[in-house]
Each structure stands twice: as C-alpha cells, then as structure tokens.
C-alpha cells in the first residue's frame, strides 16, 4: 500500500505533472525503491529531491555502519529519471536510463541517511541529460557523491 505519511509537496506554478503519479513512481510502484523506503522530498521545475533513511541492512560494513556506496548508484538513477520526468512536464516521452556514472567524493558518515537532488539540464528530441548530487541531510552543501545520467526519450510526434 502507498505510505500515508507523505511529506508536504508542492508543484512549481503552472506544472502539468500529476503529483499523485509522481509520488507513486518515486516511492511505491518502483519495487526496488519501495523496499529502500525512498521518499520524494521536493519537486522543482526541472528536478527533484529524494531521500533514503539510514538502515542497518543497507550498510557496507557492520563496523563503520555507513551506507554502501552501491546504493548511491540506485539513487542517482532514480533521482535523475524523476528529474527528466518532471522536466518533460507531463509529456509521455520518458524511455529509460541508458547510462550513468557515479563519482564517490568521500566516505559516507556512519548511521546517516542520504538525500539525492537531481536536475535535468538538457532535453533534446531523443535524449535527456541529468545530474545529481548526493549528500547527508545535515550537510547539503557538502556532497558525498555526484552522478550523471543519460535518459532515452520516446518519439513525441503524434
């Protein structure tokens, strides 16, 4: 079932996005992210912010208790995909990620969740490009990782 503790979300003025559908794709119909407990935290004109809380079963090492770096790739893909989705402003053109790169800028802190903010900075007729910043919620200006994604777009001509 969809979580009912949805954070207060608002869409940019004039947006044609279906917020209920966006929340569902971000947090619920995507089973991998439902299991991570991914939350949609903010929506911008060309971007989104999502977050995952720290959890014992998502760490790299019981000793350091920091989240596993591989999880970052999962967040980069999801945040960038959602950023392209909102950047398309309701146009049904999203076709799927074709490539992504993650740079791990430093170690993740013990027992800390992460937020991923992504924005799509170019949408062409065939491909959209998006980039993401991953940070601990307590330190949004000090990213622990960055990522980029290329997303295939479907033909939008009628």
């Amino acid at each position: 079932m969809p979580p009912d503790d949805r954070p207060e979300l608002s869409l940019p003025a004039g947006s044609r996005i279906d917020l209920d559908e966006l929340v569902a794709v971000a947090t619920w119909t995507n089973v991998a992210h439902r299991l991570l407990g991914t939350r949609l935290l903010a929506v911008e004109r060309h971007g989104v912010t999502i977050g995952v809380d720290w959890r014992e079963d998502l760490v790299a090492d019981v000793g350091t208790a920091a989240l596993m770096s591989g999880l970052i790739a999962c967040l980069v893909d999801h945040a960038c995909s959602l950023a392209v989705h909102v950047g398309l402003d309701g146009a049904p053109a999203y076709g799927g990620t074709i490539g992504l790169r993650v740079d791990h800028l430093g170690p993740l802190a013990p027992r800390r969740g992460v937020h991923a903010r992504a924005e799509t900075h170019r949408i062409t007729t065939t491909v959209a490009h998006a980039r993401a910043w991953i940070y601990h919620p307590e330190a949004p200006t000090e990213p622990v990782a960055t990522g980029v994604c290329s997303v295939m777009l479907r033909d939008r001509t009628p």
Binding site: C74, D77, G96
Partner: protein, 139 residues
C-alpha cells in the same frame, strides 16, 4: 590466473549487509556473481524489468566483491572511487550474471570492467567500468 574462489566470493557477500539485502550470490560454475531474478529488484512495474539503479549497484558491487575476494592477504578497505554503467537492454526479472575483469591492479588503485548478462553470455544487458581505492592496512 583464475578469478576468486566461490567460497571467498560468498564470504565477502555475507560480510556486507547491503549485498545480502540485494540477495547477491556466487554461481560456482563460472564463477560469476549473481543478482537473483526477484520481484524486489523491479523498477518499471508495467514492463516488469530490473531497475536500472539496481543493475548499476549490482555492477559496482560485483567489482568490489571480485577485488575483495581475490585479495590475499585481505585488503581492509576497498572503495569505489567512480563507476560508470551502460544499460544496454531491458533486463527481465531473471538471474543476472556478472563477470569481472581486473584491467589493472596497482598498489593503490584497481581498474575493473564488468559485464552482465542473463540467458546468453554473449548478449550483455549491461556493462560497466570503474576505479577502486585499495586502502592499506592502518599503521
């Protein structure tokens, strides 16, 4: 030289909670590292495909597991510095196998390539490459 032994691969997975969460295992016949074809990895519920982010996490994890399982003596800290994944085909909810090639293993940095396939080894669903930091033992 052949790759890491299956029991070493299983030991690294068992010691890494997130990899247990993903349900990674070793197929000793390869040996390959396997992401099970489970519903829990699904991204698009209409097409019933593996989430691209899970596939990318799997490839990065496979590089880590391979390096950790083939380190003798063990290297205490192996951390991905960067990892790039190309998603070549939609991946169905069936077992995905990863094969890792260590392109260069230096003293501090290892460079790997990873190829992932499902039913046919010659038909990859995803490929990746990355650099990993090999942190020396403290002291």
């Amino acid at each position: 030289v052949s790759g890491p032994r299956p029991d070493a691969i299983d030991a690294v997975i068992a010691a890494t909670p997130y990899l247990v969460f993903l349900g990674l295992r070793c197929d000793p016949s390869g040996p390959t590292i396997v992401l099970g074809g489970e519903e829990r990895h699904m991204g698009d519920h209409r097409r019933r495909t593996v989430h691209g982010g899970v596939m990318a996490a799997f490839l990065e994890a496979a590089g880590f597991v391979h390096l950790a399982a083939s380190s003798d003596p063990p290297v205490p800290g192996i951390k991905a510095v960067d990892f790039t994944t190309d998603l070549l085909r939609e991946a169905a909810l069936v077992d995905t196998h990863a094969r890792v090639v260590v392109v260069r293993r230096g003293r501090r940095i290892a460079n790997v390539r990873v190829e992932a396939w499902q039913d046919e080894p010659d038909r990859p669903v995803a490929v990746g490459h990355g650099n990993y930091l090999l942190e020396p033992a403290p002291g």
